[in-house]
């Protein structure tokens, strides 16, 4: 009879490290599993912000965290989506809200009627039929209730002060029974693809059945494993550097992240209750850090109020995040741009799949292949979503953006864009993190207007269609009118009371 997994060692730092330890302890602690963390020095600066997709609340539920308490502790903010600004020189900003657009009519997706109506002269944007987008633009918090649930799937992403979030996760993890040691890895005792133990710089030897590499891009364990090479995506993502800073709190609080393209990359603003996180992803070969910091001020109209921290960025993924008894979670496995709140999402993906495929026997890790295939598919789809932003940009005459528009993109995305451009239909693959409404929002937002639409849309009489459209717009306007502002919602449900509170 084979041995079950009794001991997991997490070698990691920051959100990846503590989420991994906490999640595994919560999920398997009662089965007798012990989780030990080798805590590496943090790479977060005071200015760092984590931006999360609505799905993070599933992980929080698993962890037994009250999301309002998390938001409150981390000066956090609920957001309805992301606003993309200046990705085209001629088109207005658009909102990628975490919500659907319109409702299905006679089994035909709303977007089909909208494409048809646009061709007939309708001036109203697709996002105007999206409750979440309308709420976001007016800095409202969407309360889900019976009347809205039939119309909308509006969900909230969150922004969190990164250091506070990590501190909170660590506290909770330790309280749940996770054991932790601060240290550095001196060497790894491995036979083939199986790690027996890690040796810390103080000589301490830590052995385990399963080793989680949550060390970030350093990839202290997985980086040395066989058959786990890192594949660069630089040909799709030209940026090689990320700058993090912080600005004043915005009042009223915007209910969205702001993602603005500029000549050499993009700049994100992430409102928090006590400040605004700033991030710039750019090509350092074309622009100095000093110039980039200036660009943040010019593009956002906000002053940098913190120190500016710069780090290299190398987008790409490891061919196999699970090799032998080592599993890479987070950036040790996949490095994506911070676009689309991907950072925490990739960690969450790894953990949710790991929990689903958690090995039954310590010496026969047959789950690895299934895990790797699952993660690879998910990551490919997120990567395509990010590439789509670059590919569809309309900033003509700037080398970074001209190159992005002209680049060769993965076949999977070519197919998706072609089908959508033809008839407004999103080809969803297995393991998509983003749903049809998310693709609709960004593809239409970036200006990929379908040439034709589903012929079934013609079955609806024009007058009836106009009536339904008007009804939806009226419904949205009325709903938004009764929503609390994001500020008010946070003040009552999740007020931040720490340093720098309003």
């Amino acid at each position: 009879m084979s041995q079950p997994i009794a001991r997991v060692v997490v070698v990691g730092r920051d959100a990846a490290g503590w989420l991994s330890a906490f999640a595994l302890q919560r999920a398997f602690g009662r089965t007798g599993l012990t989780v030990q963390v080798i805590e590496l020095p943090s790479q977060l600066s005071a200015a760092d912000v984590y931006a999360a997709l609505p799905t993070l609340s599933n992980l929080h539920r698993l962890l037994g965290l009250d999301e309002n308490e998390v938001v409150s502790a981390c000066a956090g903010v609920y957001v309805q989506g992301q606003r993309f600004s200046s990705w085209s020189r001629s088109k207005p900003d658009f909102m990628h809200a975490y919500d659907t657009q319109g409702v299905v009519i006679n089994h035909v997706d709303f977007i089909q009627y909208w494409v048809k109506a646009r061709a007939e002269g309708l001036a109203v944007d697709l996002e105007d039929f999206c409750l979440g987008a309308a709420a976001a633009k007016q800095n409202r918090y969407v309360l889900s209730k019976d009347t809205t649930e039939a119309f909308s799937n509006a969900a909230h992403g969150i922004h969190l002060n990164a250091r506070t979030y990590v501190r909170l996760l660590k506290q909770c993890a330790l309280k749940t029974g996770v054991v932790s040691t601060v240290g550095q890895i001196a060497s790894v005792n491995r036979s083939g693809a199986s790690i027996q133990s890690v040796v810390l710089s103080d000589g301490q030897i830590v052995d385990g059945d399963l080793f989680i590499d949550a060390s970030g891009v350093e990839a202290v364990l997985i980086g040395a494993m066989p058959e786990a090479p890192f594949e660069s995506w630089r040909h799709w993502f030209g940026a090689d550097r990320i700058m993090v800073a912080s600005g004043k709190r915005l009042t009223p609080l915007p209910a969205f992240s702001q993602i603005s393209a500029y000549s050499n990359g993009w700049i994100g603003l992430y409102p928090l209750q006590n400040r605004t996180g700033m991030k710039c992803v750019y090509d350092s070969s074309r622009q100095s850090d000093e110039r980039t910091a200036e660009e943040i001020g010019l593009t956002t109209g906000m002053r940098i109020e913190s120190e500016v921290v710069v780090a290299p960025l190398q987008s790409g993924a490891r061919a196999r995040p699970w090799v032998g008894n080592c599993i890479a979670i987070g950036e040790s496995a996949v490095v994506l741009e911070s676009l689309d709140a991907a950072y925490l999402h990739v960690i969450q993906l790894g953990l949710s799949r790991l929990i689903a495929f958690f090995p039954v026997e310590a010496d026969a890790l047959v789950e690895a292949d299934a895990y790797n295939a699952d993660i690879a598919a998910h990551v490919r789809n997120i990567r395509d979503f990010q590439i789509a932003h670059y590919k569809l940009n309309q900033r003509f005459g700037e080398p970074v953006w001209d190159r992005a528009r002209d680049m060769n993109i993965p076949d999977s995305l070519v197919y998706k864009l072609n089908l959508f451009a033809h008839r407004g239909r999103v080809a969803l693959y297995d393991h998509e993190s983003f749903e049809i409404e998310n693709w609709n929002a960004i593809l239409i937002g970036h200006g990929l207007m379908p040439r034709t639409y589903d012929p079934l849309a013609d079955a609806l009489p024009r007058a009836e269609q106009i009536g339904k459209f008007k009804g939806m717009l009226h419904f949205i306007a009325e709903e938004v009118r009764t929503m609390p502002s994001l500020d008010a919602h946070l003040e009552i449900h999740a007020p931040y009371t720490g340093a720098g509170a309003k």
């Binding site: 009764t482 609390p484 003040e491 007020p495």
Partner: protein, 507 residues
């Protein structure tokens, strides 16, 4: 139809009380069938200083049909959203007593109960989050409630801070335009009917005689007719409200005027700060048993936030009320009817209440004792309930740092007030009768602001779930924010609608 026997009305005294009376009478009963005469002497100064008001003034102004922007312009006025009480509960503490409501009543009980539940469960102890006037005051913003349907955001309740002598002058022009006659002169003798004691006429220093059927005593604190002639008697409340002096002194404006009055507790009383458009009114209300006039004036002069524009002036008073405000054919309006320190800006209001009551019971064929009794009872009630509210500011305090405050904290207070404070402590309400000027929400603001956190609240507030409660509160809070976000700065509002012309600047 019987002949109206009351046709000649004589108002004695031309301060704001006198001209408010004359203006209202000239508008409501007119001068076609009546004669309205106001006797005043330029030799006798008026008490007019920077004066703050409460929203009820709009009722009066509306009766007159005044154009609000014109009124503001003419009186150098600013808008007022409430009063900030500084250092009352303890030093370095402040709270805001706003006009307008906190939140909205829900499930048949006051908002305060729901709020108390939330606050006691860890919610923010700043109740001002749920009041639009407080938030606007903090941001120094103002606007009038816009016409909108449906009205989903909180209404903006406001009053004015103005120059009382300009207000009197403005109303004088109004009254004279409508036929009221002003006589310059000093009353040297009051002639009464030998049998009835009714006042028949007044002799002026220059020998003229002014006769009338109804006399309104607006002669100020001395009560020339009501006290000196008719001996109404005075109920002295100074054991509860010991302040008996005020030093008043205008100063240059310090920046844009703020849309509220500030009342700062001082060693032996309190100091008002009333911002007008072009200057700031200041005063120190004190008790000379605890500080000398000399010292009070010095203290006041050293605590101005702009250059002094005049020497301090001392006003003397005894807090209390005339035992009868109406005797025979004479009634008292203004300071002649009683005096309550302007801590809650009630002076103008109490005059206007008296005017409104006079109009309600206005005599036709002789004087009906039942109506006079009603008037007297109601005026007593007005004064008395305001008095309790004022005392609450003094006796509910943590301050014991001076003899004055030790006295106030430990003095014996009226039973009516004692009962209210006790009720508030137990369950967060005072159950103020509807006829009272200050409502549940005023009492809540002041008692909570002065430091009482009720032990409990109405049981109905516990019925809904915690989540539903928060959701409702967030919506209310959001309404407050939306309202205030839609406002412009107070100064910008004045500039746009009602800036006083430089020529009308008061000294």
């Amino acid at each position: 139809m019987q002949q109206n026997s009351i046709r000649n009305i004589v108002v004695v005294g031309g301060g704001s009380a006198g001209w408010m009376t004359a203006a209202a009478l000239s508008k409501v009963i007119g001068t076609q069938n009546y004669s309205i005469t106001l006797v005043e002497s330029e030799l006798i100064g008026t008490v007019g200083v920077g004066e703050a008001t409460i929203p009820m003034i709009t009722l009066y102004n509306n009766v007159l049909g005044l154009d609000e922007d014109e009124f503001v312009r003419e009186t150098n006025a600013t808008f007022k959203l409430g009063i900030e009480f500084v250092d009352w509960r303890r030093l370095n503490h402040s709270y805001f007593h706003p006009f307008g409501l906190y939140g909205v009543d829900m499930d048949g009980i006051g908002f305060g109960h729901h709020w108390l539940r939330w606050m006691k469960g860890g919610g923010n102890p700043d109740m001002g989050l749920f009041n639009a006037e407080t938030e606007a005051a903090r941001q120094r913003k103002f606007m009038r409630t816009p016409e909108q349907k449906p009205q989903t955001l909180p209404k903006i309740n406001y009053a004015f801070q103005f120059d009382a002598s300009l207000y009197a002058a403005y109303l004088r022009r109004y009254a004279e335009k409508r036929g009221a006659v002003r006589i310059e002169g000093q009353v040297v003798r009051v002639n009464q009917n030998a049998e009835s004691g009714f006042i028949e006429s007044l002799d002026l220093k220059d020998g003229r005689r002014v006769s009338g059927d109804l006399f309104v005593d607006c002669s100020g604190f001395r009560g020339l007719l009501i006290e000196e002639t008719l001996q109404a008697g005075y109920e002295d409340w100074s054991h509860w409200l010991p302040a008996n002096r005020a030093a008043a002194m205008p100063c240059a404006r310090a920046g844009d005027p703020i849309p509220y009055t500030r009342a700062t507790a001082r060693e032996a009383g309190w100091q008002w700060r009333i911002p007008l458009q072009h200057r700031t009114g200041n005063g120190y209300v004190f008790s000379n048993a605890f500080i000398s006039e000399e010292e009070a004036m010095q203290k006041l002069a050293s605590r101005l936030d702009g250059a002094a524009m005049a020497e301090p002036r001392i006003l003397k008073f005894v807090t209390g009320v005339r035992r009868k405000c109406w005797i025979k054919n004479c009634l008292a309006i203004g300071l002649s009817s009683g005096f309550l320190e302007p801590l809650e800006s009630t002076s103008i209001h109490l005059s206007q209440v008296a005017i409104a009551k006079l109009l309600t019971v206005f005599p036709k064929n002789g004087f009906n004792p039942a109506l006079i009794d009603k008037f007297n009872r109601e005026m007593q009630y007005e004064y008395s309930s305001v008095k309790d509210f004022l005392i609450a500011h003094y006796c509910v305090t943590e301050r014991e740092d001076t003899e004055f405050w030790r006295y106030c904290k430990h003095m014996d207070i009226p039973d009516s007030l004692k009962a209210r404070i006790e009720l508030f402590k137990t369950r967060g309400e005072v159950l103020a009768p509807p006829a009272e000027l200050f409502k549940e929400t005023n009492w809540f603001a002041v008692l909570y602001g002065q430091g009482i956190v009720p032990d409990d609240y109405h049981p109905v507030a516990d019925v809904i779930s915690d989540h539903d409660l928060k959701t409702r509160l967030a919506r209310i809070r959001s309404g407050v924010q939306d309202r205030v976000n839609g406002m412009t700065s107070h100064q910008a509002f004045i500039d746009r609608h009602c800036a006083a012309r430089p020529g009308e600047m008061s000294a």
